[in-house]
Amino acid sequence: MQLTHLQRLEAESIHVMREVMAEAERPVMLYSIGKDSSVMLHLALKAFHPSPPPFPLLHVDTGWKFREMIAFRDRRAKALGLNLIVHQNSEGLAKGIGPISHGSEVHTDVMKTQALKQALDAHRFDAAFGGARRDEEKSRAKERVFSFRNEHHRWDPKNQRPEMWRLYNGRVRPGESIRVFPLSNWTELDIWLYIRKESIPIVPLYFAAMRPVVEREGQLIMVDDDRLPLRPGEAPRQRRVRFRTLGCYPLTGAIESDAKDLDGIIREMLLARTSEREGRLIDHDATASMEKKKQEGYF
């Protein structure tokens, strides 16, 4: 009996989650509402069945997520009866930090990275699940499944703990923590195939629909609410688009697509000629930008 690719990925992710549960004192699952988080949450339901996932979900809300994402988040948490912690950086909020007024770099740092650290510190979480995959980006390709962070949440890429077989070392001293990536070995295609196989609910923004967008620097930006100031001569146009990844709406580019269901998305994936993070403006800020952000505590 040889497991298929997806069966093996599923079993390995469940193994990782159980290992964290058994060894960490205060684990938490970072829930970003996207497709990877949806898969991760589904795997958690499987890993601990018939128990519910024995940890809370944490959503770091930058205040600029698509409205559909927030609605989906609240619906899912309620339907599954999960403990959902929503954290916002109140200082940043008070200062009015946003992607439009301050640019993507400052916004991401204050409202995402700093906010995440605040939440992890406040709850003294010693292990945090994240949905990152190694196929997303070059520095992520180098990261361990159990990624050690010092008391300042910093990652030291040149001095990672060796990770042998499926023997994970989750031991930390007070203040230190482990970021755990159960989806490390999954690819974007695996995620979609698994969502289809398991009928996992996802935010409808992933499916093509007529949406109001403007075109900026070659990116299609959806006008999700009236906070997006329109530039002179700019007018939202209804176009059939969908999103490959979901983040803050002013920073997330849509693609034109007819993929209105999972088969359509998978077909598009198989024919795709660009990687999914192309739609993420923050990765293009500088070479090795993700590595730098990760060192500073970004997920």
Partner: protein, 643 residues
Amino acid sequence: MRETAAMPVPQAGSAAPTEMAPHLRQQTTHTVLRFLTCGSVDDGKSTLIGRLLYDAKLLFEDQLAALNADSKIHGTQAGDIDFALLVDGLAAEREQGITIDVAYRHFTTDRRKFMVADAPGHEQYTRNMATGASNCELAVILVDARKGVLTQTKRHSYIASLFGIRHFVLAVNKMDLVEYRQAVFTEIEAAYRSFAKQLGVLSITALPISALKGDNVTQVSAAMPWHQGPSLLRHLEEVEVREAADDGPFRLPVQWVNRPNPDFRGFSGTVASGTVRPGEEVVALPSGRTSQVRRIHTFDGDLPTAGPGQAVTLTLADEIDVSRGDVLCASTQPSPTSDQLEAHLLWMIDDDLIPGRQYRLKCATRTVNCVVTELKYAVNINTLEHRAAKKLELNGVGVANLALSERIAFEPFAQNPTLGGFILIDRRSNATAGVGVFDFSLHRADNLVWQTLTVDKDHRAAIKHQRPCVVWLTGLPGSGKSTIANLLESRLHNLHRHTYTLDGDNVRHGLTKDLGFTETDRVENVRRIGETAKLMVDAGLIVIVAFISPYRSDRRMVRRLLDEGEFIEAFVDTPLAVCEDRDPKGLYKKARAGEVPNFTGIDAEYQPPEQPELTLDTVAMSAEQCTQKVLEHLQAAGVLALT
């Protein structure tokens, strides 16, 4: 390949989500091969991976654009595409042009999915290479055709095989630079095979390639018609890499006890080897408790069977105490347990490994304390030569004896990687300090499954490798009982048997010092010694009693206190005249002078045994010969047998 996959043009609204097109179905039924590439910087390892991805048209446009830009800044190919930049993901790696840590890349063909672990080749990053190797099933070892098998080739092959890789591809690269000559290739192949014999490698496939030009990478090369073989990619698509352990007996290390409510107690874990079905008997190790599997639970419903790699939750028929770290095994073939093991170690932190220092050892889901008791030798990872060593430094490999704080279920790594591989964790920093593989246990009796019954006489005796009994030496005063008792205990002690001697004279100083020599007191005296001997037998000891014990009824009483076969009556048969003649303590003389009343043999009766197990004639035999006779009897009676 993704592009060449036969793919029907999607028609609007035609695909209902429940019917999967064949190419999608294929995507979900693929198996995966995880392979490692190793070689030094100049061997073209990263170039090979880049070439595989590029030729297989698996690079995205934005990745290709970024690669073109990077190649102009950091590239080593004079502005041409430098594939190495594709996999060296860390800033420091691109700046220094070296691979520091293992990187993972994915690609898919029509036949299989692949995960490539690109491992660093420098000796200082050996621990990162070990990380990559431990999660792969196959290693592609790159050799530069101009240089042949180098020390790093050997080092990479050794580390890869040490941590579990059994399938190797020897990719002789840069064949274009040696005019594609067959002789160069065959010479390197022969040298490598000769070296690899000592690694216990399962299979080696040698291929002549040029990663830069693309020969034999995805397409069979026209430049090397002398090579009858598949391209590298075709070989990777077709190679069989089943784990031998998969077919072994059932093993499931318990990760987590699942208790949603008082009625459900499940044991969650990943099957390490073998299969299990409801109704089958399992034993929890190291405790030794047994039960039957009741159900195999998953989120998607119960399973009729679970096999290697599956993450499941088992419930058992009985409420036995099982917790994280225990290993559930097929009760017919339990794994051994041990707390003293020999292992191969790779050291992975700057602080040296020094025997005597304590670490945490994690094997499967169990963590115990561990001390390296002896470093037997270090292995030169470049030459595989052994040398004496007092410590292991960063990236050093050695063979050591380990003492664990508790017995654990284990198996030699070659038999079962899950129960044979372990990490050592620094107790202060929590760093992963070392990795190791168990070779074998240093105990003899590891296959014993420890039952959880209350510890009884048999258990106590079993760990002493003996059957407890009482050797009851009876005879007249001065007959030689104490002499034989002392010799006998000394001989048994030398045989590592656990003994105790109760000598009449010594006992009278404590246990029976309130007793005199009247008949009543003599009976009580024997009773107390009999009861004491019985407690010692219960403790698992071989008890030697040297005691006149003149009355048959008293000796019979003691015989009845003990179990069948435990009372060995040895009559020290020395005639009164001889005893009186020897008179070692001058007591006969005093008794004859009337100074000692009730002296056995003079004015008190001695009743010789009627059917003693042994009669020791001290006139015909020396004390040593008598002792030998007792030993032979004990041997024959199974008292000394190993259990």
